[in-house]
């Protein structure tokens, strides 16, 4: 059980579910409406643009002084810039390299850019632990709010590149689903006034898990939180069979921080009248999580 936190606003850039080849690419917005500096836009990779756009959109009605922290999550970070810099090292034999892709390749680039653009000096951290990155960020946010902080900006970003799709394809990771990407940000609050949903509980597991154990885990998680299964929407990102579940990865594709898309979708479900939403996620049967969202 956790201290409940409330979702004040959300922003998302995600796929419409249509795969092109083996990739479900996000439908990108017109960035210039939010990232107004043309030079900055030009220097930013897609991951940075998606992240900064959705973060700034989520924070649009919030003053910088009132932001209590920026917590980001990413599985693979800014892949395009990483590859661009790596290629330049080889192509130019380590001589006279342009630093921009290196600077933007660090995993905390997006959190840092948001702090810089909005002049937010508050707590700022990035979690990078495979398919538990978002969950780690959420646990940190919950701790911060329990410690008295308010208005925690929490977000996740991962991007598709041609290389990442080719590698995942060769690894056999795309047999059941296309590669995915996206960026979601959430403004989390300590009080419910003006909020749209509550994050009620979160549970994580590592290592292979059987269908039976997964089902038992789901049942005890729901009963611990007094949730009636007949009054529940299930967003399933695992290969486990769950009754009446929506396969959220069918839309967003498979990637390390896909659960952030499910969290955004859960809020949309609540806005449409759902009372309880369970997100059940697994990645390659190694990282697993359950997140419960409730209507207010």
């Amino acid at each position: 059980m956790i201290t409940p936190v409330y979702i004040r606003s959300t922003a998302s850039i995600h796929s419409d579910g249509q795969a092109q080849g083996n990739a479900k690419r996000a439908v990108e917005p017109d960035y210039k409406e939010v990232i107004t500096d043309a030079g900055l836009r030009r220097r930013m990779s897609r991951a940075v643009k998606m992240g900064v756009y959705s973060a700034l959109t989520c924070l649009a009605d919030t003053s910088s002084d009132s932001v209590g922290g920026i917590i980001t999550a990413t599985g693979l970070g800014c892949l395009a810039d990483t590859e661009k810099f790596m290629k330049s090292i080889v192509d130019n034999n380590e001589q006279l390299l342009t630093p921009t892709p290196f600077i933007q390749s660090t995993f905390n680039t997006i959190g840092g850019q948001v702090a810089l653009l909005r002049k937010i000096h508050a707590y700022n951290v990035t979690y990078v632990h495979r398919a538990l990155s978002v969950e780690s960020a959420l646990i940190d946010a919950v701790m911060h709010i329990a410690e008295g902080a308010d208005n925690i900006l929490l977000g996740a970003v991962d991007e598709i590149t041609e290389s990442s799709v080719d590698i995942q394809q060769r690894m056999g990771m795309l047999r059941n689903n296309a590669a995915g990407e996206g960026s979601q940000f959430f403004l989390l609050s300590r009080n419910s006034n003006g909020c749209v949903a509550q994050i009620t509980d979160i549970s994580t597991r590592r290592g292979a898990i059987t269908q039976t154990d997964f089902a038992t885990w789901v049942d005890s998680f729901l009963s611990n939180n007094n949730v009636d299964k007949t009054d529940l929407v299930v967003l399933n990102g695992s290969k486990q069979v769950l009754t009446n579940a929506i396969d959220f990865k069918n839309q967003c594709g498979e990637y390390f921080t896909a659960v952030a898309f499910a969290l955004w979708q859960a809020v949309e479900q609540i806005k449409s009248g759902a009372r309880n939403v369970l997100i059940a996620n697994s990645f390659q049967n190694t990282n697993h999580s359950l997140i419960l969202i409730k209507a207010l």
């Binding site: 920026i70 599985g75 693979l76 970070g77 990483t82 590859e83 810099f85 790596m86 290629k87 090292i89 080889v90 034999n93 380590e94 001589q95 390299l97 342009t98 630093p99 290196f102 600077i103 933007q104 390749s105 660090t106 995993f107 905390n108 680039t109 959190g111 840092g112 850019q113 702090a115 810089l116 909005r118 002049k119 937010i120 000096h121 508050a122 707590y123 700022n124 951290v125 990035t126 979690y127 990078v128 632990h129 495979r130 538990l132 990155s133 780690s136 646990i139 940190d140 701790m143 329990a146 410690e147 041609e162 290389s163 080719d166 590698i167 060769r170 690894m171 994580t204 590592r206 390390f256």
Partner: protein
């Protein structure tokens, strides 16, 4: 609730364990040399660990044919040493928060040489450990850590944030014992990154010196064991009494001249602990040797301590800037500063920066009364973290 430090483990250019590191610090023996374990045309000193990957595998009893990133090979011995030092026996509820800035980049670089021009080439096992979580999972699975396992990456401040997050897990009752720290290997990617920013010194770095000309990169791993009182199995070294994370929000890579972020992180850590500036015994600075960092950090130190600056130094001239590992390794040194009453020398210092006129500690001393040690780690993205270690009363 008190958070105690009960174990330390470190691997760096000046030693493969805690005892070797302390001996080198005491004798003023720097670990910088020209890179030998990986191919680079950059002719600059680095804090390289002598052992090759093959030697590390042999030392750790790991099969030679297994593909393991240098990141994981450096993290494992430091974690094993810290766990043994804290006399931990049952690891099934132990949490593990690691930190790294490059993950398994050393393997990815090799993969990429083959993959670049033909996406059907390159051995997949060389890229499977690219992500930052891979080395954490490797170590967690080797030791059987059954508590929360995660990884933080905030560039050069990563290790500091790992310590703070671990302390918070304990305070929130989410763990009794947490292994925290960081690891980073040297690799062509970061070497060339810092070189492209023109902040690598071709000589040994000179933190806080007027003639400083940049940093030397290093590699290694440092981990400490945090525990609540009931989990302790030995007398602790000290407590983690405060920590703070702030963002400079000035520039993606540069530091503000007035030290906004570092002022906030240092003063925040002291405020949490209820410790006054006059009570700080020693500051283990970030002190990279770049023009920007040392000016920014020095200015923040002057803003907080005025004319009564405590003993301070940068250990970067010993081990190089170990990026995500820096606050892991330097946390070990800070903890032992309290335990041994030691203050480490800032090598290669001759002339104070005119802007701050700060003079660091230049001689090793031990047997002092060291009650509160402030340790800094600052990084790209404006990420600034400070941790305050305090003696157990």
């Amino acid at each position: 609730m008190d958070v105690f430090v009960s174990g330390v483990g470190v691997v760096s250019a000046i030693g493969f364990n805690v005892a070797e590191n302390m001996q080198s610090l005491a004798s003023g023996k720097a670990g910088l040399r020209k890179p030998q374990n990986f191919a680079t045309t950059l002719n600059v000193p680095v804090g390289e660990i002598c052992s090759t990957n093959q030697q590390l595998k042999q030392l750790l009893g790991l099969p030679q044919q297994q593909t393991i990133s240098r990141t994981a090979l450096l993290a494992l011995p430091a974690v094993v040493e810290a766990v043994a030092d804290a006399q931990l026996t049952n690891l099934s509820n132990v949490a593990f928060i690691s930190a790294t800035s490059v993950g398994g980049m050393d393997l990815t670089e090799t993969f990429y040489n083959d993959f670049k021009d033909n996406h059907n080439q390159g051995r997949l096992r060389m890229v499977a450990q690219h992500d930052c979580g891979a080395s954490t999972e490797f170590v967690a699975n080797k030791l059987g850590f059954g508590g929360m396992v995660t990884t933080i990456s905030t560039a050069c401040s990563s290790g500091g944030n790992s310590i703070a997050t671990g302390a918070r897990l304990i305070k929130h009752g989410l763990a009794d014992t947490v292994v925290v720290g960081g690891v980073d290997p040297l690799c062509r990617f970061t070497m060339n990154g810092f070189n492209s920013l023109k902040i690598l010194d071709s000589e040994h770095c000179r933190p806080f010196d007027a003639t400083r000309a940049g940093l030397n990169l290093g590699e290694g791993a440092g981990f400490i064991i945090l525990q609540n009182e009931k989990a302790l199995r030995r007398a602790p070294y000290c407590k983690v009494s405060g920590y703070a994370n702030a963002n400079d929000a000035f520039h993606q890579t540069g530091s503000s001249a007035d030290g906004t972020g570092s002022f906030l992180s240092m003063s925040g850590a002291m405020q949490m602990a209820g410790v006054e500036a006059s009570q700080i015994s020693y500051i283990n600075t970030h002190g990279t040797g770049t023009g920007g960092n040392d000016l920014s950090e020095g200015t923040a130190i002057r803003r907080i301590f005025g004319d009564n600056v405590p003993a301070f130094s940068s250990v970067k001239p010993f081990i190089g800037h170990t990026l995500g590992a820096s606050e892991g390794i330097e946390a070990v040194y800070s903890v032992l500063s309290i335990a041994k009453g030691a203050v480490y020398p800032n090598l290669n210092f001759t002339t104070p920066m005119p802007e701050t006129n700060l003079v660091p500690q230049t001689k090793y001393v031990s047997g002092q009364t060291i009650k509160h040690v402030l340790s800094n780690a600052f990084g790209f993205g404006g990420n600034d973290s400070s941790v305050l270690f305090s003696a157990v009363e």
